[in-house]
């Protein structure tokens, strides 16, 4: 009888020891943390944005996951319908218990998610592509509780760089054609202010609605003002029709275009011979080897350049969210994750590249109590107090083989120039 008890005790002890030895490995291997993503996957341009977010999650899992666990991204479609997007976000937060949310793309979807789901629940929200200035105002009023981040830098940066281009080229009058949505309307307003600040007059400001059969009326209106140059904040399909009509009606070929027209489709459909005097603007990666990591890995995985709208932004939003999760440690609350974002985007921190190796390196630095600076696909992203980012910029032109770089502006150049405009 005593023997049996002893044997049993010994077995129990042995089992406990064995389990104890296994425990650390088990934690890293078996547990899964869910993160939420609400993106418009039923829309053609939305699917690649979701795909690249999943790609970032795969790389983090390759590096052993974040905060001790593998990451599973639960993806929900918004259908670009605010009701559907908000419901999906609410389900992710309440039913799946996600501690961070990626998305959405449209500002009109991101905004109600922010005000009625993520802020009340204390869950940080990382958007790749919502551009509305309304978010900045909301943050300034203190209504986002520091839970809102977006990696879409391009509105303010692009409009400032376009003003610089117009000034450097010596244009005195410019007509603006802009896409009639929140992004386009913001661009039109910003560009008018920035052009005015460098002494360029906007003589016509014309909205372009999507999917019209012809833009002759709009183009004629802009042409009547006889501008020296044309500024385009349009997407390729509408941009192609508008520019074709512009040129066929004898409009100037001095054009400045936003990064949304940085596409081979636009170049081929308009014709390179008409785009010789066209300059474009875009945000850029910083000039360091590690920043190429995103592009290289992307080409390896998908077999093409990451040229679609929002791809680099979506990747960075996902990576930064997961880096912050890692920095906040296991069982962190949403607020802790949001508070850890500065630790992974610290300009004085160790630079890490945008891939699995970079994430693994960041884990070591963060475990040692250090800070890192993430060199992402859109540059060394750094959020201001309102969750907005600035980024380095390039001026580019169309060329036979694709896109040629004309000028590079570092983050300091960009920030300095924007400050000089205000």
């Amino acid at each position: 009888m005593p023997v049996t008890t002893k044997t049993r005790a010994g077995l129990t002890l042995g089992l406990a020891l064995g389990l104890g030895a296994l425990a650390p490995a088990a934690v890293a291997q078996d547990c899964t943390t869910k993160i939420g993503a609400v993106l418009p996957t039923s829309v053609d341009w939305g699917r690649p944005i979701a795909e690249v977010a999943q790609f970032a999650v795969d790389q983090v899992n390759e590096a052993g996951g974040a905060a001790g666990c593998k990451i599973e991204m639960v993806l929900r479609d918004t259908q670009v319908d605010p009701k559907v997007g908000v419901d999906a976000a609410k389900a992710l937060v309440d039913l799946e218990g996600v501690k961070l949310l990626l998305g959405a793309v449209s500002s009109g979807v991101s905004m109600p998610i922010l005000t009625s789901v993520t802020v009340p629940a204390g869950v940080p929200q990382f958007s790749c592509c919502s551009s509305s200035t309304a978010f900045t105002k909301l943050a300034e009023e203190g209504k986002t509780n520091g839970l809102w981040f977006r990696t879409f830098a391009t509105t303010a940066v692009q409009s400032a760089v376009a003003a610089k281009v117009a000034r450097d080229k010596g244009y005195k009058t410019v007509a603006v054609l802009y896409k009639n949505d929140d992004w386009g309307q913001d661009m039109a307003r910003l560009i008018a202010a920035d052009f005015a600040a460098v002494g360029v007059e906007v003589v016509a400001n014309v909205a372009i609605n999507d999917a019209q059969p012809s833009y002759r009326a709009e183009v004629t209106e802009a042409l009547a003002a006889q501008p020296e140059a044309l500024y385009l904040a349009l997407y390729p399909v509408e941009g192609t029709s508008a520019v074709r009509e512009w040129i066929s009606l004898g409009g100037t070929q001095n054009m400045i275009v936003a990064n949304s027209l940085k596409s081979d489709e636009f170049r081929d459909n308009v014709g390179l011979q008409y785009l010789g005097n066209t300059l474009g603007t875009d945000t850029a990666s910083p000039r360091s080897d590690s920043a190429d990591a995103f592009r290289t890995r992307y080409v390896e995985r998908f077999g093409s350049e990451p040229n679609g709208p929002g791809l680099a932004n979506s990747y960075d939003a996902t990576m930064i969210a997961l880096l912050a999760m890692e920095a906040a440690g296991p069982d962190a609350s949403g607020a802790d994750i949001a508070a850890a974002v500065p630790r992974v985007t610290d300009p004085a921190g160790t630079r890490v590249s945008a891939d699995a190796a970079g994430f693994a390196a960041a884990k070591e630095v963060l475990a040692g109590g250090g800070t890192v600076m993430y060199d992402g696909g859109t540059g060394n992203v750094r959020f201001d107090a309102n969750g907005d980012v600035s980024a380095p910029a390039v001026v580019w032109s169309f060329a036979e083989g694709g896109i040629d770089e004309v000028e590079y502006l570092s983050l300091d150049d960009v920030n300095g120039f924007i400050a000089s405009l205000r």
Partner: protein, 316 residues
């Protein structure tokens, strides 16, 4: 568990708000036979009206009235009713598909106006900054959502009872008479044009109420909230539930909205990982299939209209 309850409260709130709009459409289509293809314009008028009247001043756009919430909500309904009156006076002489096309055009024009008139409603970026009523007392979390659900349910019940009495009254019989045979109604000395307008304005004001509740629940509205897909959703809810039956309208809303959101949830949970990217598109196919199936096999809806013989007819 608490997460599930919290989500269900949220779901029930949105479903109840949509149910109010479906009840409004049921008065127009189910009882009077008015094919309103521009539901979203009246829903939007209520939403924008409520937020413009209830919001603090925003730079460069109309607003800053900061009316008390019941006044703002009523103002939204009045805005929807006024729009309906103007539209109705012009278009109600049209019948069936012609009326549908005209009202659809009104909805597209309304969306365009809101997208472009920045001075009026902020253009594409919408109206924000609305303070939800009693937020200071109830906070932002679960308790608030629960209280708001209670408020919306009260209004849903009130609208339901109002419509039940309305369609049960002599006026309700008049609506059905006009729906079935306008000339016969006229031959009995009724004035169909006026009655149609009354039904159209009343139904639209109810949709405006739904819009006002929707906008105040999210504390935000933008042109993206008033795209034609909403008209389609509300029609689908009514057709599946059963046109002409108020209980059917409410059940149809819960079922369609439940299927709409539930299919997304189920696909995200159970679809294989490689198919995750395509679940959005699969979801659209499934929703379409349900509606087509209903139209094929049960066109009268889940809860068909119950036609009762009038009392005088029974006693004789």
């Amino acid at each position: 568990m608490i997460g599930l309850i919290s989500y269900l409260v949220f779901f029930a709130t949105v479903a109840s708000i949509l149910a109010i709009a479906v009840l409004g459409l049921n008065l127009q289509w189910g009882n009077t036979g008015l094919f309103n293809g521009g539901v979203v314009a009246f829903f939007g008028a209520g939403a924008y009206g409520t937020l413009i009247l209830g919001s603090p001043a925003l730079e460069g756009q109309l607003g800053g009235f900061e009316l008390a919430y019941p006044l703002a909500l009523t103002g939204g309904m009045v805005a929807a009713a006024l729009l309906a009156w103007a539209v109705g006076a012009l278009t109600l002489r049209l019948r069936h598909d012609y009326l549908a096309i005209a009202t659809f055009g009104v909805a597209v024009a309304f969306e365009s106006l809101m997208r472009n008139a920045e001075w009026l409603a902020g253009g594409a970026k919408g109206i924000r900054g609305f303070e939800r009523p009693l937020r200071a007392a109830l906070g932002d979390g679960f308790l608030y959502n629960l209280a708001f659900l209670g408020f919306v349910l009260c209004l849903l019940v009130a609208v339901y009872l109002f419509l039940e009495r309305l369609v049960g009254s002599p006026f309700g019989r008049l609506l059905r008479a006009i729906r079935e045979d306008e000339d016969a109604a006229r031959s009995l000395g009724k004035r169909p044009a006026r009655v149609r307008l009354v039904a159209f304005v009343t139904g639209s004001a109810i949709m405006g109420l739904a819009g006002g509740l929707y906008a105040s629940f999210y504390a935000f509205v933008s042109p993206q909230d008033i795209l034609p897909v909403l008209t389609f959703q509300i029609w689908a809810m009514l057709i599946v539930g059963g046109a002409g039956n108020n209980r059917g309208a409410i059940m149809g809303t819960v079922l369609i909205w439940g299927a709409w959101t539930g299919s997304g949830w189920a696909l995200s949970r159970f679809a294989p990982i490689e198919a995750q990217l395509y679940t959005g598109s699969i979801q659209f196919v499934m929703i379409g299939a349900v509606i087509v199936g209903m139209l094929l096999w049960r066109p009268q809806g889940l809860f068909p209209e119950r036609l009762v013989v009038s009392q005088s007819g029974r006693s004789n």
